[in-house]
């Protein structure tokens, strides 16, 4: 099972045409191993990208070099996944006798 330990989702907002066109090519930047959750559409519309821990520093440097504004949308994916899994297990246990 992929646990997504150390993975984060960054939210990036393009503020000019050059940044927008860079973001449109994120998926082709294989070196960062990104998973584009929400792709680039237009200026000021946020882009969400899941970044694995081993490329985090390099990707953040790329963003800073190109003067992107970004924030952390999901700090710790593993924590959310663990909570989601627990909730499903709990709900399944509750539901079993009724079903």
């Amino acid at each position: 099972r992929e646990t997504f330990e150390g993975h984060q989702v960054l939210r990036i907002v393009p503020k000019n045409g050059v940044q927008l066109s860079l973001l449109r090519n994120l998926e082709e930047m294989m070196e960062f191993e990104l998973d584009v959750w929400k792709g680039a559409t237009r200026l000021s519309s946020p882009v969400d990208v899941r970044v694995p821990p081993h490329t985090m520093q390099a990707f953040k440097s790329f963003l800073e070099t190109n003067e992107f504004e970004y924030s952390i949308m999901i700090e710790d994916i593993k924590a959310i996944l663990d909570a989601e899994r627990k909730q499903m297990e709990f709900a399944a246990r509750l539901g079993q006798p009724r079903n």
Binding site: D35, W37, N99
Partner: protein, 306 residues
């Protein structure tokens, strides 16, 4: 199905059980059609809601073609129950179902959905291996024969938007294609994705306008107004290429080219900051607001035969 927990996410086997229960409870109204098999051999189940007649005009709704978009499968379960509970009570859905059939495919990419539960919650594509590459799977929303291979899809198997080796190469896609063509009387086709709060219509592969653009735009506006009026969720709407980006080989471009005028695709909500990990307490409000707009689309298709 009354005690089914609609406010939580469910495994594939629970979805399959739910479908069988719904059919068993409503044998004269709901039936299950198996339109094909996934690559890994799972049934591609479609629920048919019908009050009679043969080959009536029909509405198609699918959820979950992208496996990780769990809010869509969860909404599909809620829609199925909603159709059953509202028929005979709500005049609008009753009128629609007295004249049209509804087909609902809840787990459109079952192999991918199963994989999201056991191995990788973030899986999007199908699971068929790609010869010569270690990365399996095809993006089933780039695999349709509508501008296949043009911009906005990838020829690289490890990409999330890999289009596959040829149009309809994925059985999950081909099965729908064959069903739609053999049915021949589907009047509205709605394919549901998540998340960025959009209601979109063709085209995605070309900047050319759909010939029904004006009507599709006005109807999208009406549907979105209905959706937003419920919980204030803000949606954008328009054709795919202008509203999001170029995407070739997409589902509703193909259905529109097949003559299904009311071809729409949704991106459901994440009004917060969760993306594909939308908390389960948002399932029911998401399904409710989406249903409100689906009713606008379905009612229009019913009242505007072509």
């Amino acid at each position: 199905t009354d005690s089914f927990d609609y406010a939580n996410y469910h495994t594939l086997s629970e979805i399959y059980s739910f479908q069988d229960m719904l059919v068993a409870e409503n044998p004269d109204f709901v039936s299950k059609i198996v339109i094909g098999q996934s690559y890994e051999g799972r049934p591609l189940n479609v629920l048919k809601f019908s009050t009679g007649g043969s080959n009536r005009p029909a509405i198609w709704i699918d959820t979950g073609i992208h496996a990780r978009e769990w809010i869509t499968q969860a909404s599909g379960l809620w829609f199925a129950k909603k159709i059953v509970t509202d028929y005979g009570k709500d005049p609008a859905i009753t009128a629609i179902l007295n004249n049209m059939d509804i087909f609902l495919e809840i787990a459109t990419n079952p192999d991918g959905y199963y994989f999201t539960h056991v191995s990788n919650r973030m899986w999007r594509k199908t699971r068929k291996p790609n010869p010569g590459y270690s990365c399996p799977g095809v993006d089933p929303n780039r695999n349709w024969d509508a501008g296949f291979g043009l911009g906005g899809s990838s020829g690289y198997p490890c990409s999330e938007t890999y289009r596959g080796p040829s149009p309809h190469s994925e059985s999950e896609v081909r099965s729908i294609v064959e069903f739609v063509q053999s049915h021949g009387n589907i009047k509205a086709f709605i394919s549901i994705h998540a998340y960025s709060q959009m209601l979109l219509y063709p085209y995605g592969y070309t900047t050319a306008s759909a010939k029904d653009e004006a009507e599709l735009y006005a109807l999208a506006q009406k549907a979105v107004n209905s959706l937003t009026s419920m919980y204030g969720t803000r949606y954008t709407y328009g054709n795919i290429i202008d509203t999001i980006y170029q995407a070739s080989g997409g589902t509703v471009d193909w259905t529109y080219n097949q003559g299904i005028k009311y071809s729409y695709t949704y991106e459901l909500r994440d009004t917060g900051y969760y993306g594909f990990l939308l908390p389960p307490n948002q399932i029911i409000p998401t399904a409710q607001e989406t249903w409100s707009s689906l009713m606008v689309l379905m009612d229009h298709a019913y009242k505007n035969p072509y």
